[in-house]
Amino acid sequence: MSAPEFRNGLVRWIDHRMGIFSFMHHELHEYPTPKNLNYFWNFGSLAGFMLVVMIVTGIFLAMNYTPHVDHAFDSVERIMRDVNYGWMLRFLHANGASFFFIAVYIHLFRGLYYGSYKEPRELLWMLGLVILVLMMATAFMGYVLPWGQMSFWGATVITNLFSAIPWVGESIVTLLWGGFSVDNPTLNRFFSLHYLLPFAIVGVVVLHLWALHTHGSNNPVGIDTKGKQDSLPFHPYYTAKDLFGLGIFVLFYFGFTFFAPDFFGEPDNYIPANPMVTPAHIVPEWYLLPYYAILRSVPDKLGGVLLMFGAIGVLFILPWLDRSPVRSARFRPIYKQVYWLLVADCLVLGWIGANPPDGMFIVIGRAATVYYFAHFLVLLPLLSVFERPLPLPASISEPVLKGGGAAGGTVKPMEKA
């Protein structure tokens, strides 16, 4: 906590009046980080990188976009054809949404596997879920802006979800639309909110990092650090590791952006919006497919909407559903298996969401929906009681140093925390 001695006089002058350099040194440089983190711990910073990319590309796209039903589609085509590097900005933004979700979903499933949501990180976990919900709202409204067929009908179907609310549903939908159907007022407000919400996300990210830095990162063995020998300073060890991971991640991101830019898109969205004709098969973007599958699995309108929101809601109470004191799945032989079943279940839901709702797809969708909720509401509470965890290592250092005799000599004997 002691303020570092800065060599630059100006830095010293500022730091004495506002300790921003001390703060950055403390939180980004010397910040003690468990030394056994694997590459799954890279995805938090990758998500942060994607947030910055989305905001920067978005600001420049907004300089050439027109939020009006008569001009929106054409202004996007103008960005693609006439604006210098407009095609690149738009494809970085469109594919960036997908890669933002890829980073965040891996980050989330990392947390599920290693029990990162458990005491004392419940708030950290819940703030992350708030970010996810804001991301979904932002992505949905952004998808409406090009005003293609999928934009229009996606907006119609999603806003109509709120009509399922008893009594006030229809009034809420009219309020969301600013009219009696998705139209120009809707497009205008979606543009306004699409510009606003990313900055709300930045705010929640700050809270997320605050909560993170209160107790520090969890780690693959899921036991607390017990002294200096268990951790490394964040810089240069994890800045270097995160930057290497970023290089790999960006290879994939740019690979899609430049070589398959429409891979994640729907061809129907290159048809201008037509309020009189619904496309034969409406699908949301891939990152929303599992929720869409849950929505369609329930034969009742309100029930479907409730379960869809419940799929995220149940994650908020996860820290109190999973009462097992052991965090990492490495030491939970049964949880480790149901974890992978849950991963498979989510992939199945995504696959069902991409297919039309008839025949076998309905049956499989219902089974997968039931299993999703059973995992959190039945299996985890039962495992908390009946599962017998494997013995935990005495410290983070122990499994790291096992068999690596040479390194052992440089490590001081463990201090008792």
Binding site: W153, T156, V157, T159, N160, L161, S163, T174, L175, L176, W177, G178, G179, F180, S181, V182, D183, P185, R189, P275, M276, V277, T278, A280, H281, I282, R296, P299, D300, K301, G304, P356, P357, D358
Partner: protein, 192 residues
């Protein structure tokens, strides 16, 4: 604490707490009343912002549509626009009307007699928006699939409507809505 003696004299009015009980109660009341007034004021200030998102006067002004039914022959259907939504107008034949009158209403998810859904039985006028999640059902064009009940079929989530626009099968909870309309002459209507 200089006035401690005087306060103690009024102690019986307080909650029985020693010392400053009376003053604390008075302050609590003022504090709560001021906070409550502030909260009500803040809530009142929020309303103009929320209401600005509701339909504006120019949007509401576009709320009637006149339709000339003259050119629509029996068996034909047309789609007109009212409030940005498609309105289905179908000219039905005698046989179809009689068939629909025979439907056992008790078996319907949203029970309603065909006669209650029309002003003149040969003219069926409905909002062409699926009551599930707002897609436009197929069935207006001769080449469209009309679903299992010979009316309309919503391709988004598989809702089937009959020749009266009543929901028969699928996730939609309600029949296709009938908009407010009136016959201005024998062959023209005003919707809205």
């Amino acid at each position: 604490m200089a006035h401690a003696g005087g306060i103690t004299a009024h102690e019986h009015a307080g909650a029985g707490e020693p010392g400053e009980g009376h003053d604390a109660t008075r302050r609590d009341f003022l504090y709560l009343a001021a906070t409550a007034l502030g909260a009500v004021g803040a809530a009142a200030a929020v309303w103009p912002f929320i209401h600005s998102m509701n339909p504006a006067a120019d949007v509401l002004a576009l709320s009637t549509t006149d339709v000339d039914l003259g050119p629509v022959a029996e068996g034909q259907a047309i789609t007109v626009v009212w409030r940005g939504k498609p309105i289905f107008v179908r000219h039905r034949g005698k046989q179809e009307i009689e068939e629909l009158a025979k439907t056992d209403i008790a078996t319907l998810p949203d029970p309603q007699a065909d006669a209650k859904r029309v002003k003149k039985p040969e003219w069926l006028i409905m909002v062409g928006v699926c009551t599930h999640l707002g897609c436009v059902p197929l069935g207006q064009k001769p080449t469209d699939s009309r679903g299992e009940f010979g009316g309309w079929f919503c391709p988004c989530h598989g809702s089937h409507y009959d020749g009266s626009g009543r929901i028969r099968k699928g996730p939609a909870p309600k029949n296709l809505a009938v908009p407010p309309y009136e016959f201005t002459t024998d062959s023209t209507i005003r919707i809205g």
